[in-house]
């Protein structure tokens, strides 16, 4: 997103096929307004998200990454994928902090297929938060280099 004026964050959203993608779809068909800063990638399960996908997204210029899956403890279509995602993202946030990237840029949320308005409000909130944080530090480094 180029051009003058306010910083518009670029957010990558990894949404699980069974709950969160359906939730985002519901937000869409219900015509709930939310900022267009998010690019959604559908995955089969939040437990399918390799930490490398998230690191790659940040390397390629994402200002934030949203991972969304089925509610804890037992909504997951594959029984425990959401729980795996929770543990991976928790650990990855520690690692991101050490890499000099604010852990708030990575967000894990649970969104069910009926929660279109919840999805929209998460995206609104996240865009606001990332705007406050400013562009990804990885991007400003590139500019300086």
């Amino acid at each position: 997103m180029s051009g003058k004026g306010e910083f518009e964050p670029r957010i990558i959203g990894f949404l699980c096929n069974w709950c969160s993608y359906a939730g985002a779809d519901l937000a869409g068909v219900s015509r709930i307004q939310y900022p267009p800063n998010i690019r959604i990638i559908r995955v089969m399960c939040s437990g399918r998200i390799d930490p490398a996908f998230i690191l790659e997204a940040f390397k390629d210029g994402a200002d934030g990454v949203l991972v969304a899956g089925c509610h804890l403890p037992s909504d997951c279509h594959y029984i425990s994928g959401n729980f795996k995602a929770l543990r991976r993202i928790t650990l990855l946030k520690e690692v991101l902090k050490d890499f000099g990237i604010e852990p708030e840029r990575l967000r894990l949320e649970w969104v069910s297929a009926s929660e279109g308005d919840r999805f929209a409000s998460i995206v609104r909130d996240m865009v606001k938060q990332i705007k406050r944080l400013g562009p990804s530090p990885l991007k400003s480094k590139e500019k300086n280099a």
Binding site: L55, S74, F83, R87, R88, V95, D98, F99, G100
Partner: protein, 326 residues
Amino acid sequence: MAKDKLKVAFYWAASCGGCEIAVLDINEKILDVIQIADIVFWPVAMDIKYKDVEAMPDKYVDVCFFNGGIRNPEQEHLAKILRQKSKILVAYGACAHLGGVPGLANMANKKEVFEKAYFSTFSTINAEKITPQPSVHVKEGELDIPEFYDSVRTLDQVVDVDYYVPGCPPAVERTLFAVEAIAKGELPPKGSVLAPLKSVCDECPRKKENKKITKIYRTYEKVPEPERCLLEQGIICMGPATRGGCGARCLNADMPCTGCGGPCPNSPEQGAAMISALASILGLEEEKEKYSEEDVEKLMSQIKDPIGTFYMYALAASILRRKVIK
């Protein structure tokens, strides 16, 4: 110098010198190597100047074993020269392959490294705040040393590399495999890592049963059972995320794998692979109803120094390559 002998060169860049010793670890087989090869450049063992290398015709050297990462212009220059002079350039050892332990300096920059090394360690007295300068004037004239870069780079981030021999230092069988493959002319496709495709676990003799742990132990906190998988005993072992070919030699000595073999071919980001693997066995899934998100945070905070654990050798070769310092 017989005409049909292979011309071999060795060079060291940002490394500890262990890889030079690893070359000699092939013991009496070195005599076989001498039968088929002439060493034309090896600073650790021979008195040859850089200008002699620069004077060699292009592609004069048949094989160059290059160990060490790149962290100053001297190393970068030699990497470029040796690339030009060599038919086959082999990144030998974890530092040339992945940045190695020196690559962990990518968690800091030049300023922070100098601050630590020349001012703030307990054993340092440096009242005049002297640090190495790229050039200094003495009464005989100007003296130059190479400038210190902010980041360590792997060899393939600087020049084109033909093959990689992993390990810190490479296991004897990896060195022999490389030498034999070169001698017979039976090399795999360019860009190959000269090691098996499977992970260290595949070579590890320990019994693997059910991987579910709730507590992490550091190596000094526990005497491990001799025959059981170390990860199952709560000791972080990089085996699942690390390419084998070493015979699991650390595991045979009751020490966990630290990851010197680099990533497995189907999971090229070693740190991420281990984050993924470790997070999936840490915690009791059967009782996940009982766990709150805070409990999970507590569980994960047992891992001290995640970067040093997951990226001990591969930080410079990882997706992010270094810490962002504003």
